[in-house]
């Protein structure tokens, strides 16, 4: 009975619980509230900490405190709340603290609306807060992945001592699918070399200050090296019908599912359409995208629920060899598979 029908937002919390996350600090916001609600439901059953913080600012600073105390800790939010967390995430990155942040993206800017968008891409994938730092960003596209990648997020966070985002949108957060709950982790990593426990042996210091200029330059270089190792080792992506693809659509999260249907429809009409889906957004699968033209791909269409945030990374990777076109919907609207194939016909004149 490890198989259950549940929302993506719930699945993330099950993943966290199985990963040995012992504390959840959050503040409600649609469409991410169920992340907090499910933590409020599950964590007390496990004697673990759930606190509804007074704001996202507080929540992320509680995360900083818990991570510095050696806990696996998580928070969740959406657009406006993620914006508020940025200073605290920068502190976590600066103090090299592992934590997991689930972002169920909604429409912006401002209060925007509660429909699905992917407009937090830039603030989440590029760092977002002040200073030279990056977050590892995982982009699940189904409820099982919400569970599995949240679990993975904790592993990566500890492996690199860095904040990790699980980035998705309201569609994946609020839809239900069958989720098989993975087995709980048996062992948690030893953090006694940096965590503060308030014991004689662990009089550690959690800190992001380097007053001396040379010291701070050194620390930034250390972080940079860490990000390079992450880029070397942790890239994840998925390909669908790519072997003979001449046209490729690129999209992540809920969009990638619509693209998959579009690929099926196009293939039924004999069009050699393939799907390339980044799973990690940082590290971005740039090398793999750069290799597409040499694999016979003639056209690339990036599809986003934002006005062209990820496409910048796609085009940076392609470095002008060919240029990705862009199609997007906004404000909570989601493209249909037909919209995608229509756009492909319009651009490349090959699809019925």
């Amino acid at each position: 009975m490890a198989r259950m029908l549940m929302k993506g937002n719930y699945a993330a919390v099950y993943g966290a619980a199985m990963a040995g996350c012992t504390a959840y600090y959050g503040y409600p916001i649609t469409p991410a509230s169920e992340v907090a609600e499910s933590a409020a439901a599950l964590f007390p059953k496990l004697g673990r900490t759930f606190v509804q913080a007074e704001s996202e600012v507080s929540a992320i600073n509680m995360v900083y405190g818990a991570a510095g105390s050696g806990q696996r800790v998580m928070t969740g939010s959406s657009g406006p709340g993620i914006s508020l967390k940025m200073e605290g995430i920068s502190y976590c990155a600066g103090a090299a603290l592992p934590c997991v942040i689930v972002d169920i993206m909604r429409g912006g800017p401002g209060l925007g609306n509660i429909g699905p968008e992917q407009s937090d891409y830039n603030q989440v994938v590029k760092g977002g807060g002040h200073g030279n730092y990056r977050n590892i960003v995982l982009a699940p596209n189904c409820c099982q992945e919400m569970c599995d990648y949240t679990m993975l997020a904790f592993e990566l966070a500890d492996k690199y001592r860095t904040p990790v985002f699980v980035l998705t949108d309201g569609v994946i957060g609020q839809m239900m699918e069958s989720v098989t709950i993975p087995e709980p982790v048996k062992e948690l990593p030893d953090k006694s070399d940096y965590a503060v426990f308030g014991t004689p042996l662990n009089k550690n210091l959690v800190n992001s200050i380097y007053i001396d200029h040379d010291d701070l330059e050194w620390w930034n270089m250390e972080l940079l090296k860490k990000y390079q190792v992450i880029e070397e080792n942790e890239v994840m992506f998925e390909e669908y019908m790519m072997d003979d693809a001449e046209i490729v659509v690129i999209g992540y999260g809920s969009v990638s599912r619509v693209l998959r249907t579009a690929v099926d429809n196009a293939r039924a009409n004999g069009v050699k359409l393939g799907l390339f889906r980044p799973i990690t957004l940082f590290p971005f699968p740039g090398k793999e995208i750069a290799a597409l033209p040499a694999r016979g791909v003639k056209h690339i269409l990036t599809v986003e629920l934002s006005t062209g945030q990820m496409v910048d990374d796609v085009n940076l990777a392609l470095s002008g060899v060919i240029k990705s076109d862009l199609y997007f919907r906004l404000g909570g609207n989601v493209p249909s598979a037909d919209e995608i194939t229509d756009k492909i016909s319009e651009l490349y004149g090959e699809v019925k």
Partner: protein, 479 residues
Amino acid sequence: MKKTVLRKPKGFIDVYKYKPGAEKDRTHYCPGCGHGILHKLIAEALEDLDLVDETILISPVGCSVFAYYYFDTGNFQAAHGRAPAVATAASRANPDKVVISYQGDGDLAAIGGNNILQAANRGENIAVFFVNNAIYGMTGGQMAPTTLEGQVTTTTPYGRNVDTDGYPIKMCEVLSQLTAPTYVERVSLHDAPHIRKARNAVRKALQNAKERKGFQFIEVLSSCPSGWKMDPVKSMEWIKEKMLPLYPLGVYRDKGEDAKITKRPVPVMEPAAVWEKLGISAEKDVDFPRGDVADEYKKMSIRVAGFGGQGIMVTGQALASVALEYGYNVSWLPSYGPEMRGGTANCSVNIQDGTIGAAEAVKPSMLLAMNRPSLEKFEGSVMPGGTLLYNSTLIDIKPERTDIKVFAVPITGIADDELGNIRVQSLVNIGAYAAITGMFRVEDVITLLPKLFKGRKQAIIDLNAKAVKAGFNYVKDNF
């Protein structure tokens, strides 16, 4: 003759190793600064109460940002104003430790005003030392929320004007309005007798913290000769003459023996216990054997639509839940966007083997329309050759499409008239769906009902079972 040996209290680190530069034996504070005095009172108390190895101290942003240079405790440096949030988490993670939040007035009463208020209101098991020096020392003497009326600072060059800048905030008075705090006192460091009183307050707060007695708050009127642009002696006089009248010293809250002892649960981590507590059984999921399903019903993309309150979402979820038990991949997506308004609701369900693509049933292979607006809205979207199941009790028009299979079933009528409970419409739907597609067996659905409607009374479960049968039989008998 009694000999006094002057030595550093053990609460301080012997050599300030975290402090950059050569001067590892002295603090960074200005001469005559109150921070130094308060540090010493805390360090002595930590030693005397045997807490040096039991304490976590949070340094704020402000002149005491480097408090961690000095205290021989576990140390955090927190973002501006957020020390109470960091302390909250450190305390929850280490419930048997003493957690100190050390903060200035800008940090605590301005940018972190809500953080301290809420931590106090939660009764977090922490000791807060609040340095009220009526100024932003670190950033060069700007106005603090505690700056006095008329006081000149770099951002109140004509003196604090209460009409535009507000009044000095009295944190002890504010926090003692809350129910949770255990101990709230204001002390001053302007002369030896008052320092002795401050010493006692610091000790009491830390003793309480050691006994896990919840939220302790000590406000300390403290000098900032540099920010005030006065020499240390004049600074002490200024506290006495200007600050004391506005900030009365004394105990604002002391629960004494009534203080609650903070208790925190021990996390369950052992894998088998985790699953057990969450009701996840380790037994393998066994699928129901599938019946004969016609090819056209093997890959279902279903739109369920109707009024809010007709059990639209429940119908969709029940379809997905039951299909799951036959080992299908399933998805359920509630409607987004404008359709949510105006009382209509719809959801999309996919049931198939293999990976499900788009979750929204834009071109459904089956439409389940529970009211007329839904039929009008979605009839055109049904895939050619697809299926329409509609609620003929409420829909008085005939569908226009001739290229789809149509099943008119009086869903509401069966639920309301035949079974006497309009709330079982979803189950009538499931029964009708089972009959049309052959995907579910009625017995299987009935076996699942207790799981689908966990915690419901047996009578309701029985009624639901009847509803499934009624929907099924209607389709079997009429089509």
